[in-house]
Amino acid sequence: MSTISAKQKIILPLIIPVILLVAWEWSVRSGLLPNTLIASPSQVVRDFFDLAISGELLVHSLVSLYRLVLGFAVGTLIGLSLGVIVGTSKFAEKLFAPTIQFLAPIPPIAWIPLLIILLGIGEASKIGLIIIASFVVVYLNTVQGIRSTDQKLVDVAHVLRKPNKELIKKVLLPSATPHIFTGMRIALGLSWILLIAAEVIASSKGLGWLIWDSRNFSRPDDLFVGIITIGILGKLSDMVLVAIEKELTKWRTVFQGK
């Protein structure tokens, strides 16, 4: 078994990005790529600081984050609650599951026109879209998680005459936690995709709009700043989820790779 040294740990992840950046900078400077369409990394960095200092970037980021966090939180909450109810009760399963299973495979993008007709082109339709998408993914994974709980552990709670609330809190939810977090991470990624799509289609603020608008005004540097900001925020939001999951599942010993 080989282990990697502390030095390698820092250097290894940087090799490919550095090669790509150097190649990119060189292609634009040498004229291989037209400078009016593609901005070089140095231009992008300069523009990033310009937009950050002027506050414009912050405004777009906050608008996008507001939509994302609100939609994701509400969708997750509904998905988690309904998932627990359907996961624990056969009655609720018969009542809800067929309808949700019919609606779940519809690509969330297909809802956009309907949502715009119903809710207008303002915040509600964008947040609504993210709610629908995160709800479906978190719901499916929660039900799956609850239903993969070891029956033997449920039996333990039964012979100890634990009330339903205790069974859910102490047995079913902890057992389903890894599944639930898998669902939440997929839902978060999907929420970013849909957020940008919705902002590109109809909005006047937000990171999606920044990208789309810069294309219209031939500002390739703005375009890259928008893309990179989405990348950074996307990664940060995922890291928050991973950190919470790690804390909640510290009882597990799992394979870490070698």
Partner: protein, 249 residues
Amino acid sequence: MSKPLTIELRDKTFHDRQPLQALGKINMDIKAGEFVCILGPSGCGKSTLLRLISGLDSNFDGKIVLGERIVKMPERDCGIAFQEPRLLPWLSVRENIAFGLYSESGKSSGQIDELLNLLDLKQFANAYPNQLSGGMAQRVSLARALVNLPDLLLLDEPFGSLDELTKRRLQEEAQKVLSKEKTTVLMVTHDIEEAVYMSDRILLMSKRPGQILESYAVDMPKPRERTAQNFVALQTKILKEMQDKLNLF
């Protein structure tokens, strides 16, 4: 407190893909405070019988009465230690034992400390189950069953995965606790020495479908001496009759 147990079982058959008769006609009366052992070969339906008594499986033909109550579902007067530890992996050792209590109030923490001491688990009180050895996990499971001291305690090979020394010490400790509280106990095992050491009465169970073949009273004062003549004699007699009646080989 302890309660008597009466079993009048006519039949227990599983209907999965093919019907499988696990238990046949079984009648037994266990007095309040009595310690009864069921000895039998693997797969004879011992664990199934305990599931029925605990109320986890009510799909059988017959009647089980604990105290005044006809058993239909799990109740708090009956505790069980399963064959495998079945600890909740996300709870620490202490929390797992506390899970055995009806209500986890502050008053009970002394009780848990006592059990942690008794079962030599003190240093591991805050460890998670996957940090424990098999024997340690088994002891935690035993502590969880004991913490409430039910009126009837069902033990499914609770010392099965322990090393010889730990097993003997735990048998002694468990006996002390149980006879002090006068709990009715029904223990399933395939260890003849363990049965003779711990119980007031030993029931020999047949191969599937399980039935009671023989009953032995163990009239020796506790704690017993494992090397005493009558101890060894009974052990040998049971072994001999098991070989004859079950003709396993």
